[in-house]
Symmetry: C2
Subunit: 205 residues, 2 copies
DNA sequence: CATTATAACGACATTAATGTCGTTTATCAA
DNA sequence: TTGATAAACGACATTAATGTCGTTATAATG
């Protein structure tokens, strides 16, 4: 419909495709969506789509990059020490991720798990996943460590290990949620128990 | 090679196929293995393979059924109350699952995650996953509840919720392990921390 | 040994997804 | 207005996996 650029129109189109693609990934999951699905959802032709992205992997990674950026921004804020209660910040950060599978639930989370687990034999994909893991780890770890330094948390356990546990638990919940409907999962009670766990090992209250 | 039955030879062949298939699934993961892979690994022709199984899903589910049976047996034992220390039993049970991804690592665990998460939009597959989830839940829950009844564990928390958390943690670790190599995951330290937590909420020692 | 039932085989038709490429067409600039 | 540019298009060749089916060959049986 629109030949010979215009720069922001081009970026607009790209953004449209990404939005449509995200919906498709949420609906069908990573492995089961095809470029055709994305083409249809975005009202773009085969050739058009391939103008903007190399392949499905490229589309998905681009979508993932976005919220990676969000995390990095959060980390920034933490390191700048503009924080009142590290406990609240920690919960908020956890909830930010957990909300996706938890809430009204049309999140990309299960597709993310899919993306990484089906790609675990691919070097490139593994690197990508590893980078994301360490990104999250750094975020949680930084919050905990700073909370410890300020004396808000006890130092009985290593912040790195606690952070890893948090990640494992979130990933596990996301996975279980992809199998079980919300009613069956008792997510809230699990979250409460987990919060309790964190309180205990962080010595909060 | 062998026409006109012989019953146990037939079962033997079937078992061979399943063994070979399991190796293939471990190597390539669920989504990326094809019937061709299985055929080659099991030294069976296309027609031969389809004589025994309907499709890939059928093969994989059959493999899964096996260790489901193992779990059920364990549950039996618990319910028959032939248990000395419920704490030891609990650890052993957790470890039995965790060992797979943990140890020398050639386990089916990541493929299981794959199988269920990529099939989350399929009714049949979801039912299957749900059944397995509740099977595991029943197992852990029974151990904990009985431990509580015998006074070995405190009753501060609901056995059902604790069991769910255990499952979430195990699934999360399995997932993270499929991204990160063993050296990077610090699995042992995470497990130790989790064990510590279980001790706390179960009032052990 | 001859017969028969059937396990095992592998070619084949089918389906579906992928990425490419030559063509068309709308916009921008002169 | 017009010509150059490149976005958008969709047909196409390619690749790969699936499940079927008619044929082959062999182990059990009498």
């Amino acid at each position: 419909m629109s030949p010979k650029v215009s720069k922001e129109h081009k970026e607009q189109r790209r953004a449209n495709i990404l939005n449509a693609a995200k919906d498709v990934f949420i609906e069908h999951g990573y492995e089961h969506t095809t470029m055709k699905h994305i083409m249809d959802a975005a009202n773009v032709s085969r050739g058009g789509l391939y103008q903007y992205f190399l392949n499905k992997e490229d589309v998905f990674e681009t979508i993932l990059e976005e919220d990676l950026q969000l995390n990095l921004n959060e980390l920034e804020e933490v390191l700048r020490e503009k924080v009142h209660s590290h406990w609240d910040l920690l919960l908020e950060t956890i909830y930010g991720e957990e909300r996706q599978p938890n809430d009204d639930m049309n999140s990309l989370a299960p597709s993310k798990l899919e993306f990484f687990i089906t790609g675990r034999n691919d070097k490139r994909r593994r690197e990508f996943g590893k980078a994301r893991y360490y990104n999250g780890l750094k975020l949680y770890s930084a919050i905990i460590e700073q909370g410890q330094q300020k004396g808000e948390f006890c130092t009985k356990f290593d912040s790195d290990i606690i952070a890893r546990s948090i990640i494992a638990f979130i990933d596990g919940l996301a996975f279980d949620h992809s199998i079980l409907p919300k009613e069956d999962l008792k997510m809230k009670q699990q979250s409460a128990l987990f919060r309790d766990y964190l309180k205990t090992i962080l010595g909060v209250e």
